[in-house]
Symmetry: C2
Subunit: 319 residues, 2 copies
DNA sequence: TTTGATCTGGCAACCGTTTGCATGGGAGGA
DNA sequence: TCCTCCCATGCAAACGGTTGCCAGATCAAA
């Protein structure tokens, strides 16, 4: 059994409250006593039980971070940035993965609710209504979702979509396939909305799709058949799968079809052809989300981060 | 404020202990009462506070999972498998990332200690001695590390190394570069040990290296200069970076140099050339680790999982 | 009816820690 | 020398639950 505050108190003939104060309000205890307590604590290997502490203080110094799919390389940089930022604020971040399943997402939020001071909800698949209800149990910061009155970190997807479309138009593309993401994704909606506003382009929509390599592989035939000379995909994973599927059909990228993704994940940089993509500031988003959670007592500040077009090898002139 | 057990008790004129039992030992309470309590609880949106419960029961129904680097695609499948397995056992898994830093690793373990029932320690960078000491605070299952008396999930790296080396030998390679991983990695040691036993091969060792794409990029020049016609890399990320670096030097893979990695991560399957690799059963390891933690009361069972050579495009006949 | 077994639910202690309040002693000022 | 005031510490009640023990009620068997 690990040593408790009582063991320490007994060990140096002092009341538990004194031991408690030695750790949580050192200035209230006599330096001599403090040294004695610290020594005894160290000797017994005592460390305050954070869960018990949280029971009275109401603060756990933990926060939860929920993502749709850890296996999507988009998330790790966001996660790492959030953890680093939190560490600097004396907080810890626990991560959980919903497997793109809204039910799992809900359950995880409920589990987190009492064990953390707040939850960073990244690219949620839950409905706004549901999220608002759950927000009664625990403070949220949502990433990639706009919900009124709730702090949010947004990426400027509309702007990125425009950059991508402009790039394609400049290369002479006219008929463009828009391969969207999963249902319930704000990002996907933003993208479609922004694309629909583009003038002079002939857009073909495909969706919803799994935001994975497999999803890309699966739509490849349809995309190939639709007569588009360029594709804008919901994310890089989808784009990568698409390229894979197209090349299996002997369709060259970018010679016959140009492909643009979103996110700027590592595999996109290693792939041949290297993927042209709209870079999402994932790390910055992770940091911002942490700060927003810590600052706002649930106040609805919204931060929007700009995106960036990175032209590499998967886009070229229209045939 | 969220509803507590007291609110529910008051709401249906019953003692808190009855409410408590309704949730944790339903058979002890009269069906009629139970229905009443459940209704009131539902009405107030009451959910038992797991942290408070843990205080008396000593069980949190949470477990921690610590990895060196979430951004390494090797881990996500392991994490997802562990979470899924745990979910089936009514447990939740919280993930944390150490950034390959032993100090962060230690701190995370201490943080987890009182908030989880056990920790899955994946590819630790801490010393055996340190891990043994920390094991007094919280039960562990280590993955990819052998520590006496501690439950472990091992991957048969030695066997995988042998498979890889045999494959290369069969292709006519003789001088082979072995690019190892970070200090403190059991896997890296295993690999070196197994390689050293191979007869008839001329091995050149490089290391330690960061187990990332950057690490591979960095050693590429040395590897190119050492005269080896094939490389066995600590992991796929390293191998991918290596291929990247070599191709930047106009050295063709596999025409001039063959490359084999370890892990079988997704980017390796998308890369051109597709990476030949020793597949590690990451998902199985995640599941096993969870089961081991739940079964053993800390008993030192060890499970070893076999690895598998997957020949793709990055290996070919020696020039 | 008595006896005893079986249910049901209340009581209160406990888990490890924090914190408002009370207390005792010593220092400093008058 | 006496009166304040402050400092350091103790006391005890919380926080949100669980659980061993006990008592009253119910019911069947004798």
């Amino acid at each position: 059994m690990a040593a408790t505050i009582k063991d320490v108190a007994r060990a140096c003939g002092v009341h538990v409250s004194t031991v408690s104060r030695t750790f949580s309000a050192p200035h209230l205890v006599n330096p001599a006593t403090r040294t004695r307590v610290l020594a005894a604590a160290d000797d017994l290997g005592y460390r305050p039980n954070r869960a018990a502490r949280a029971l009275t203080t109401g603060r756990t110094y933990n926060m939860g971070l929920i993502v749709a799919d850890i296996a999507n390389p988009f998330f790790p940089p966001l996660i790492k940035a959030a953890q680093a930022q939190a560490r600097g604020r004396d907080y810890h971040v626990f991560v959980a993965d919903t497997d793109e399943d809204p039910r799992v997402e809900e359950e995880l939020i409920r589990t987190f609710a009492k064990q953390v001071d707040g939850v960073l909800l990244c690219s949620p698949r839950l409905s706004n209504k549901m999220i608002e209800r759950l927000a009664e149990d625990v403070p949220f910061v949502v990433v990639n979702r706009r919900i009124k009155g709730m702090p949010a970190v947004l990426m400027n997807v509309a702007q990125g979509t425009k950059l991508a479309l402009d790039h394609l138009a400049a290369l002479g593309h006219h008929r463009i396939a828009l391969v969207s993401g999963p249902i319930g994704s704000w990002t996907s909606n933003e993208m479609q909305g922004a694309a629909a506003e583009a003038v002079g382009l002939d857009l073909v929509f495909f969706g919803p799709n799994q935001p994975t390599e497999g999803g890309g592989l699966a739509v490849a035939p349809e995309v190939a058949a639709c007569g588009a000379s360029a594709v804008l995909a919901y994310n890089d994973l989808l784009a990568l799968g698409l390229i894979e599927g197209l090349s299996a059909m002997e369709i060259g990228v970018p010679d016959q079809i140009s492909v643009i993704g979103f996110d700027d994940i590592l595999p996109g940089r290693l792939n041949r052809p290297k993927l042209t993509t709209v870079a999402m500031p994932a790390a910055a988003a992770g940091r911002m989300a942490v700060d927003l959670l810590l600052q706002s007592g649930g106040e609805g500040a919204t931060v929007t981060l700009d995106t960036d077009l990175i032209v590499r090898e998967s886009t070229g002139r229209a045939p």
